[in-house]
């Protein structure tokens, strides 16, 4: 039996071999073994579906049979389809209204709850509650507020503000506006947390210096706080734009399976599900609409990235 080297020496020897081989890669495939489940899942349920969507969009495939190559027919069909334009218009309108609200209102809310005053923790948690509620629950809650016999209409009628119930959920445009209100309401607390993190990094000394120079609270907010949280505003803008293009459940619960009267409040995801699934589902055409939705999303995320890059330089 050879005598074992003393503790420190042995440790040093070990350390030498370890730094040579690094931590993980004694075998080149060890990291891949660790990553295998994740990579398999991503390949099966993200990369492959994407490739498959591109391929299907060039065919006339249906849900119960494969299709033949039809070139760009599905895309020309989409551009001539009034339903496609209604859905695209609704999705873009949704984005245009909801994004400014979700960039500005949560910032105001974050400034409001940033103060270290008694009870503020309770208010923060309360404002976050709609975030943890599911879209379905939120939809049901607001349906009960906005229905023709709901809270708002009952109060309005009792106060004689209106004689007929306001058609919040039965008119396509009103339904879309109602869904937007719900989306903003549900998103306020979520983006508030983003802004709270950003506000925590705003320089206090700059604020103090400006206050000594006689700048009022509003002035300091616009010339010190806003420039420092601008990167976060761009991030929130990008994230809320992408999620605005994905809206489905709010409209489904508030307006029903058809997407409002005559499908007038349908968004792009709504249209994709309607034309793509079911017994007569046209998977080829639905895939083309899916790719167009993807491109629309890509435009807005690249726009967000471009804006924040321009901001850094």
């Amino acid at each position: 039996m050879t005598p074992a080297p003393a503790g420190p020496a042995r440790k040093a020897a070990r350390r030498a071999t370890e730094t040579e081989t690094g931590l993980v890669h004694r075998n080149w495939w060890t990291p891949y073994l660790f990553l295998a489940p994740g990579l398999v899942m991503v390949a099966l349920f993200s990369l492959w579906p994407f490739v498959n969507t591109v391929v299907l969009s060039l065919t006339d495939a249906q849900i119960l049979r494969g299709g033949g190559f039809v070139g760009l027919d599905n895309y020309t069909r989409a551009f001539a389809d009034p339903d496609f334009w209604v859905a695209t218009g609704n999705s873009v309108l949704y984005l245009v209204v909801v994004v400014p609200c979700l960039v500005l209102l949560p910032l105001a809310l974050a400034v409001l709850v940033q103060a270290k005053i008694p009870g503020i923790g309770f208010f923060r948690s309360a404002f976050y509650t709609p975030v943890i509620a599911s879209a379905v629950v939120v939809g049901l809650i607001w349906q009960w507020v906005l229905r023709s016999d709901g809270l708002v209409n009952t109060v309005f009628q009792k106060l004689r503000i209106v004689s007929e119930p306001v058609p919040f959920l039965t008119d396509s445009t009103m339904l879309l506006v109602s869904a937007m209100i719900v989306t903003v309401w549900k998103g306020l607390g979520y983006y508030m947390v983003f802004y709270l993190a950003a506000l925590g990094n705003v320089s206090v000394s700059l604020h103090e210096a400006a206050a000594i120079d006689g700048a009022g609270a509003l002035r300091r907010f616009f010339s010190i706080t806003i420039p420092q949280v601008k990167p976060m505003m761009l991030l929130v803008g990008t994230l809320s734009a992408i999620s605005a293009l994905r809206v489905f459940t709010e409209i489904y619960i508030l307006g029903g399976e058809s997407g409002g009267p005559g499908g007038g409040a349908r968004t792009l995801p709504f249209l994709i599900r309607q034309v793509g699934l079911g017994f007569a589902g046209e998977t080829g055409y639905a895939s083309a609409v899916s790719i167009l939705l993807f491109l629309l999303t890509l435009v807005f995320s690249l726009l967000g990235r471009r804006l924040s890059k321009g901001d850094e330089s």
Partner: protein, 280 residues
Amino acid sequence: MSTAPRPAPRRRLVLAARYATLVLMLVVMLGPIVWQFLTSIRGRTENVYDGLLPSHPTLDNYVRVAESFPLLQYVGNTLIVAALAVTSNLLFAAMGGYALSRAGWKGRKTVFTVLVATLMFPFESVMISMFLTVRGMGLVDTLIGVWLPGAVSVLNIMVMRAAFLAVPREVEEAAVLDGANEWTRFTRVFLPAVKGALAVVCITSFMGAWDDFLWPLLVLTDSDHYTLQLGLKTLAGATTVNDQRLIAAGAMAALLPMMLLFFALQRYFFKGVGEGAVKT
């Protein structure tokens, strides 16, 4: 303009205005939820608009909705999906994040870039093909089909990667000197150092499974397999029910467990928002 600290009366006024705004926002944010809750405990004999507070408060509606509707079965189905999702995400996201956080192996950058790139595909634009894939596996109308596509989310891998990158040097060196194999190091040394991030992954995947609607809607057809959110949709759409008290009770039954979880584990919820979105 005065540069001195504001006189006390004015400061008190500002504070009062702040609290007034806070209370106003509280009514806006919680009002609709409270209204739904109050409706859910209203007695059968009273009109839903008889004053703000119910005159005969009762839990009867919760019992009735559970009796006339298979809500408990829906909850059971949801818990099966949630348990699978939490387990698989904890294990696989931790493993993947760990490998991505270790330096010095070939292909690390490529794998990382590919994973981040997949975050660009909105679920809605690949859901038709995902459905076809799941159908090809024979998993349509099964709870496994609901769970599988979300078995490990890239966002969770990124949360775990960030956490492992932040593990202090001393812990890492201790692991090297230990001479244990990679798996032992991972489970014995590194995992205990990232408990906070594991809690975040646990909560976000539970919440995802509990709250998801669109994917289960595509996959499940038999109402015996419905998850809670699908069940709620059926409850609200059922012409036989037509009693807002019951719908409200169902909605509250879906919301209250999440609220309890939230108030018990708040800091992890807030942490998840920051880490999931910013540090990818």
